[in-house]
């Protein structure tokens, strides 16, 4: 489907008027055709093939990096003593953070009856799942002996007569992340059922109809089905909501539980959750803007959505900024020599340049979102989101590496240099993520058809 001309749709409405949630002139049919068409069309767009090709190549790099890692050991990375955690954990926290927006949008905004969520929740959820998949990779491969970690981290009656140690935050992680993944996945799957049904009915060839038919699990859209569907969806929303807060809180405990200056603080959970939503929405924009452009979805993902995301980013961005200040303040206020040294190291240590870059990315840049002009310009929003995304990665780098690098005894202070394998792994996960996402766009309705329909004036009649 040929991309439509950007400007005629992204034109700014007069002051004081918010852009609509849907473009003008949408009917039940157009919605179904436009969104379903992306999936059902025989002809695969060239840009899609290109992107997927590149993504596959990069995924190859990921496989190489991990294969080599399994053969030689974590030594191929830059980690050492004292810096025992490097890129792997940074990436893990980063991806998990990205995974947050999805559930937030689908669950919390649903409970708050935010109608604008409908256009973006579907692929936001997909994004969540794919992000968590990337994240889930790291806790496993970063261990020295993944082949053991794989089954020793889970509690089961083994022949050694010993259990995992439930005092360890890493075990909490295992459960937090797997739970989060399961619930997000269910939520996503359930949401897809009615749309699979639509696709089944729209599909031309029998095989396609059979495939979507299976996925639709015999959905016929009867009142009974809708009723049960609503209940299930609400229940899951209720389940998912606390998870949004819990997952990253638990992840933050990986650090907060330790005694390392710079990790050992009580405000990590809120700090991390805010950061997660911050980066999550940044990622939503990074995906939404090209998507609506490439597939001409400007009618469904309107400026309104972009603006709202931008606003959420601004809000969470401010919380994050506050957390940075608080980190410094606590360091000073505690008057603990190690905390003070930590602060000093952040500001003047060998890695200070990373810290200042981080401040620029996560505090200075988002301030531009105060301006309607920026919020209304997809291009600028895309740029800002990318900067923020880098910032959020740097934030984790600063927390993980800069804290470990200089802890208690000056004699054991050390430096950390990443190797090419670190970079390849990070890059690789990005490629893998892109691959999954574009497969999703091609074979599943990236926007919730039936929910969009519900927004149409025609739908309102029913009430």
């Amino acid at each position: 489907m040929a991309p439509q001309v950007q400007d005629e749709i992204d034109v700014l409405p007069p002051k004081g008027v918010r852009p609509p949630i849907l473009g003008p002139g949408q009917t039940l049919r157009t919605v179904t055709d436009r969104i379903g068409g992306v999936v059902l069309t025989k002809h695969t767009p060239v840009f899609w093939l290109l992107i997927v090709a590149v993504a596959v190549a990069i995924t190859g790099i990921l496989n190489t990096a991990i294969g080599y890692l399994l053969m030689k050991g974590t030594g191929i990375w830059g980690i050492n003593i004292p810096v025992g955690w490097g890129f792997a954990i940074v990436n893990f926290v980063w991806w998990i953070g990205i995974g947050h927006a999805g559930t937030l949008i689908s669950a919390i905004l649903l409970l708050f009856k935010q109608s604008w969520r409908t256009s973006i929740n579907r692929f936001a959820e997909a994004m969540t799942i794919f992000a968590v998949m990337q994240a889930g990779l790291f806790p496993l491969v970063h261990t020295g002996r993944p082949w053991l970690a794989a089954y020793w981290l889970f509690p089961y009656p083994n022949s050694m007569g010993v259990w995992p140690q439930f005092r360890s935050p890493l075990i909490w992680d295992v459960f937090a992340v797997s739970t989060y993944f399961t619930v997000s996945f269910l939520f996503w799957g359930i949401g897809l059922i009615p749309d699979f049904a639509t696709l089944r009915d729209q599909a031309k060839t029998l095989t396609v109809r059979r495939i979507y038919g299976m996925l639709a699990m015999g959905w016929r859209g009867s009142a009974r089905h809708w009723n049960r569907y609503e209940t299930a969806y609400m229940l899951l929303a209720g389940l998912a909501t606390p998870l949004v807060l819990s997952v990253h809180s638990v992840v933050s405990l990986d650090f907060a539980v330790s005694v390392v200056p710079g990790w050992h603080t009580t405000f990590f959970p809120p700090y991390f959750v805010a950061g997660a939503i911050f980066s999550g929405f940044a990622m939503v924009l990074i995906l939404a803007i090209p998507f609506r452009y490439l597939y001409g979805m400007q009618d469904y993902i309107t400026l309104r959505h972009l603006q709202n995301c931008a606003k959420v980013m601004l809000a969470t961005g401010l919380i994050v900024a506050y957390s940075y200040l608080l980190e410094m303040f606590i360091g000073w206020y505690s008057n603990d020599k190690y905390e003070l040294a930590m602060v000093h190291n952040r500001l003047f240590g060998p890695y200070s340049k990373y810290y200042y870059t981080l401040i620029f990315c996560n505090i200075i840049t988002p301030q531009s979102l105060w301006f309607n002009k920026v919020r209304s310009s997809p291009a600028l929003l895309f740029l800002v989101s990318c900067v923020v995304q880098c910032g959020m990665w740097l934030e984790r780098f600063v927390i993980v590496v800069m804290s470990l690098q200089r802890d208690y005894l000056p004699t054991s202070w050390g430096m950390y240099w990443f190797t090419k394998w670190d970079v390849m792994t990070l890059l690789g996960t990005m490629g893998f993520f892109t691959l999954l996402f574009f497969l999703f766009i091609r074979f599943m309705p990236a926007i919730s058809i039936f929910e969009i329909r519900a927004l149409l004036p025609q739908a309102k009649v029913k009430e």
């Binding site: 089961y156 022949s159 050694m160 038919g213 015999g218």
Partner: protein, 232 residues
Amino acid sequence: MAQIFHRSANTLARASILGVVLLLSAVGAALMQLQRSPYVTNQHIAPDQPVPFSHQHHVAGLGLDCRYCHTSVEESSFAGIPPTKTCINCHAQLWTSAQLLEPVRYSFRTGKSLEWSRVHDLPDYVYFNHSIHIAKGVGCFSCHGAVDQMPLMYAENSLQMEWCLNCHREPEKFLRPREEVFNMTYQQPDRHHPVTFEGKQYLSQIDLGQVLREKYHLRTPQDITSCSTCHR
């Protein structure tokens, strides 16, 4: 429009939900069993040996004491595998022409060691010490089973960690008087077979075990389940 699925699809769908759950749990259970199976532990499997040495014959038949061959069992971590010389001590006179014993004579002639296959083989990161177990009143039987009934040697127990812990967590269930340690015919006390220890009769293993724990100054289960007891 025409149905794309047969009616049975509904049942299949429902069944598959249950099916998947069942399948997964079945696989899990199977693995758990495999992990403890003789295939993994070599329990009850007699490996090939250069000489089909029969403990049954030498212990039950001839009444040899364990220590005649396993000399260092009381003072060392390693019980000791008898040098060829020990075999020859008797077999210089007995069965001097038996074909079965040729490997032994060959070894003695050439000075090349007999290559026995290990029957009780702990992983190299487990540091087991025979002497202390003997000293604390753990009978050979408790770990090696009824060796005197074994024509060919095999491992009576799995030697897996959970098995070790059985005893390290509740030693009193297995202890016996020191002088009974090497006695293969010893029976744990019960109502019908009382055991006399220091002039006192015991009708239950637990009672006896408790007394022996005190007597032999066993360390607490906490102590002997500390990791470094076996792992270094």
